[in-house]
């Protein structure tokens, strides 16, 4: 247990833990004040506070598990120190627990300290003790599930990025797949509830997100709502942890030096002989387009994947159940979602790899200006969004009236404008974090934006401007100013990172 004890000690003493606790405290105090404000003119003040805390926890725990738990073992693999730990006599179980238990206890502790604050919600009205304790029990079980899932990915994958991406994909699949399949089976059968549909909906019913939504949006005792959900998550956590333990030896027999992968699918046709590429007019853009976005091959293969997905949906869903306009809207939605997700992921990697591989200094002492280098890299990385953009364009062509409506609303509706600026701000934040943190820049940026939004919501509620257009304008101005400030911070962080390379 030596490793586990060290991990607990390190987690308790780390500066990030102190900042996390301080941030949480500020958020809780704001939530209590907002709840108190609501309680003055409504009987649901407690519910406001409680829902706010519960959802904040849910999002942050999800993001933290992707960025922290999934890299517990891959971090050692990248440093090539896992073999040394094995030689020191640590068993797979002691390594799995020892490397992660400190962080896990830390997160559980963060949940526990919130319980007394949330019990205040009962006095503000709209929430019962059973509801508060049930939600925190559910969140704890959800943390254990996330922990085991991320640990499994960390065991299977060799690099931090691979493990984080795998965790994110599995988590998205866990949250969305049953829902999507349930909806599709309903659509396919003309809303007739077949056995598959019933099983899927039963599954959806026990999911953390569903239970959480139900218990934070309505009043009541909720009876046995939490029990099945908590049991399901604990069972899944135990199963995933056991799987991670069993796969440990098989997946980590050989220690391989971690280096960025080279996408060269055509090498097989050249019988191993490789022909070096020549870079284009803008070398910085070329490099990131080819090696970060996957180049033309990467763009085309992703485009084919999207097309295959859309064809599958079209084939699975009978035409009478989904008109062309509806299908076009779905295609536009998928295109937009992939555009935002892929851009966010790439923004979190723009400088991350340079910092990790310690190549930023060599780049910055070339005669190009810092601005030119940074923007070229960003544009090269942004090429990853081309498939999403093309899918969106196809959707617009299939549903021209939907597209025209979306365009009209984006020009007239302030909420859409604010959303677009928020995405832009989030991308800036991800680029900045890619220079400051070792991994999880995109997740951290997403979490920061969500928390920022919630914080703004609370502040505006306190100021009595909730829902007003003034709030939208002020938020837009703040976000645009934030983008400008982040550009300056990115330039400064680039210089600092290059000078600190050693």
């Amino acid at each position: 247990m030596a490793l586990a004890l060290r991990s607990v000690r390190e987690a308790a003493r780390s500066r990030s833990t102190i900042w996390l606790r301080a941030g949480l405290l500020v958020l809780l105090i704001l939530a209590v004040i907002a709840g108190q404000q609501v309680a003055r003119h409504s009987s649901l003040g407690g519910m406001t506070l409680f829902a706010w805390v519960a959802w904040c926890d849910f999002i942050l725990l999800t993001l933290m598990s992707i960025s922290s738990f999934s890299t517990v073992l891959t971090e050692e693999k990248e440093r090539m120190t896992l073999g040394l730990l094995r030689m020191a006599g640590f068993t797979p179980l002691s390594l799995l627990l020892g490397k992660s238990v400190g962080l896990l206890l830390n997160l559980l502790l963060l949940l526990v300290v919130q319980v007394p604050f949330c019990l205040l919600a009962i006095t503000l009205g709209g929430v019962t003790t059973h509801q508060v304790l049930g939600v925190f029990g559910l969140l704890s079980a959800y943390v254990l599930f996330l922990y085991s899932l991320a640990l499994l990915c960390s065991v299977i994958r060799q690099r931090n990025t691979g493990a984080a991406v795998m965790t994110a994909i599995l988590l998205v699949a866990y949250h969305l797949l049953p829902l999507v399949l349930g909806l599709l089976s309903g659509v396919m059968r003309g809303n007739a509830r077949g056995p598959l549909h019933r099983v899927l909906l039963g599954w959806v019913d026990t999911m953390a997100i569903t239970t959480l939504f139900r218990s934070t949006s309505m009043r009541g005792s909720f009876g046995a709502t939490f029990g099945p959900s908590i049991t399901t998550h604990l069972t899944m956590a135990a199963a995933l942890f056991t799987l991670a333990w069993l796969l440990f030896e098989r997946c980590n027999r050989d220690e391989r030096p971690a280096a960025p992968a080279r996408a060269d699918a055509l090498a097989i046709f050249r019988r191993g002989r490789r022909r070096s590429a020549t870079c284009g007019r803008n070398p910085f853009l070329w490099k990131d387009y080819r090696f970060l976005s996957g180049g033309t091959f990467g763009v085309i293969s992703r485009l084919f994947a999207y097309v295959a997905l859309l064809v599958a949906i079209r084939l699975l869903v009978p035409v009478q159940n989904m008109a062309q306009e509806q299908f076009g809207g779905l295609v536009m939605g998928i295109g937009m979602l992939s555009l935002v997700v892929e851009l966010g992921m790439q923004a979190g990697r723009v400088f991350g790899q340079e910092v990790k591989e310690r190549t930023l200094a060599s780049l910055l002492i070339t005669p190009g200006t810092l601005r030119h280098i940074a923007w070229s890299k960003v544009l090269g990385s942004a090429a990853t969004a081309i498939p999403g953009l093309l899918v969106f364009a196809c959707g617009a062509a299939l549903a021209p009236s939907n597209a025209a409506k979306a365009l009209r609303e984006s020009l007239t509706e302030p909420r859409l404008l604010v959303s677009a600026i928020t995405v832009l701000f989030g991308l800036h934040l991800a680029v900045y974090y890619s220079l400051r943190v070792r991994f999880g820049a995109a997740a951290l940026a997403f979490g920061s934006v969500i928390v920022g939004w919630m914080l703004l919501g609370v502040l505006f509620q306190l100021m009595g401007h909730s829902g007003a257009d003034g709030m939208m304008i002020l938020t837009s101005v703040l976000l645009v100013a934030g983008c400008a400030a982040l550009q300056m911070l990115i330039a400064r962080a680039m210089r600092t990172a290059a000078a600190e390379e050693s």
Partner: protein, 320 residues
């Protein structure tokens, strides 16, 4: 001042601190154009900070740094074009092939495609990496990666090369080959500024040397003067005979100018001589050995004094 007399590097009163830690303190020295200059100091002495200031990665907080007469603050673009900086890690894009990596940096320095092709070919030939041009860098050995890194700093034909501990972690063969490449580069007219924490490693390579410790310069000047500085008035020689010959020791001990003759008790074939170079030369010593019937296997000036010089000039203990 004519171009040939302009020093490749002039540092005047450079100081740099990180919060409370003074990394470099009032450093001043000059490197002549076309020289190989060693920059030696223990770990944490301030070598890398000085190199980063010269490479324009850090701005000097106090003092002035000039590369071929151009200030590193005001002429940053010009300075960047005239120097090639190789950090103590190799800073490679390991997913690229060797040729792609060099082509990328050639383009980043503004070389046109045709010129890049020729230059990449030339630097690959110079570093003996032409046959590995299409290999992915992550598959290369450490010695080869180091050559690729050196090729990268040469790709835009800089006049001054800044090499931060380039031989660290290399096997003896790779070190010797690296030294040969650096001599070849000097022959091609480059000025080489090379940092190391091992003085004796640079003894046979460098024309001049600067020793830095705890951020301050302890010595800067020619290598020969450093040897004199280290030895004071004495010079030491190591002599190895084919068979133990006691008469050789007696004969040498009787010579005017020989201050001490030491015989290794375990290996009586090995002798150590301490002499006054003003009174006796190496030729007289060798003649005396032969006259006493000794068969010489090895006779060389002792290198131990370089390590001694380093120890004398630097302070004990590791600086964080």
């Amino acid at each position: 001042m004519t171009a040939s007399k302009t020093p490749a590097l002039r540092i005047d009163g450079l100081s740099h601190r990180f919060k409370q830690h003074r990394a470099v303190d009032d450093v001043s020295f000059t490197v002549a154009a076309g020289a190989i200059h060693g920059f030696v100091g223990p770990n944490g002495a301030g070598k890398t900070t000085t190199l980063k200031v010269i490479a324009t990665l850090l701005e000097p907080q106090v003092g002035r740094v000039e590369v071929f007469g151009t200030d590193v603050i005001y002429g940053v673009r010009h300075v960047r074009r005239s120097l090639g900086y190789m950090p103590d890690h190799f800073a490679l894009y390991r997913q690229m092939t060797v040729a792609e990596y060099l082509d990328f940096f050639g383009a980043a320095y503004g070389l046109r495609p045709a010129a890049r092709k020729t230059t990449v070919h030339d630097v690959l030939q110079l570093t003996d990496m032409y046959h590995r041009r299409d290999d992915v860098i992550k598959g290369l050995s450490r010695g080869m990666q180091q050559r690729v890194s050196l090729a990268r700093v040469l790709v835009h034909d800089p006049k001054l090369l800044l090499l931060d501990e380039p031989a660290s972690g290399l096997d003896p063969r790779a070190r010797i080959e690296l030294m040969d490449i650096l001599r070849e580069l000097q022959r091609l007219g480059k000025t080489v500024f090379i940092s190391s924490h091992i003085l004796s490693e640079l003894a046979t390579l460098c024309d001049s040397v600067t020793i830095i410790d705890r951020g301050r310069i302890r010595y800067s000047g020619g290598m020969e003067q450093l040897l004199s500085h280290a030895e004071g008035e004495d010079v030491s020689f190591e002599l190895q005979l084919a068979v133990p010959t006691p008469a050789v020791g007696e004969r040498l001990g009787a010579l005017d100018g020989v201050l001490e003759v030491g015989v290794d008790a375990d290996r009586p074939r090995n002798l150590t001589l301490r002499v006054d170079p003003q009174r006796i030369g190496s030729g007289t010593l060798l003649n005396a050995v032969i006259a006493a019937g000794g068969e010489v296997e090895r006779f060389q000036r002792s290198r131990r004094h370089l390590d001694q010089a380093f120890m004398d000039l630097t302070e004990p203990g590791v600086r964080s």
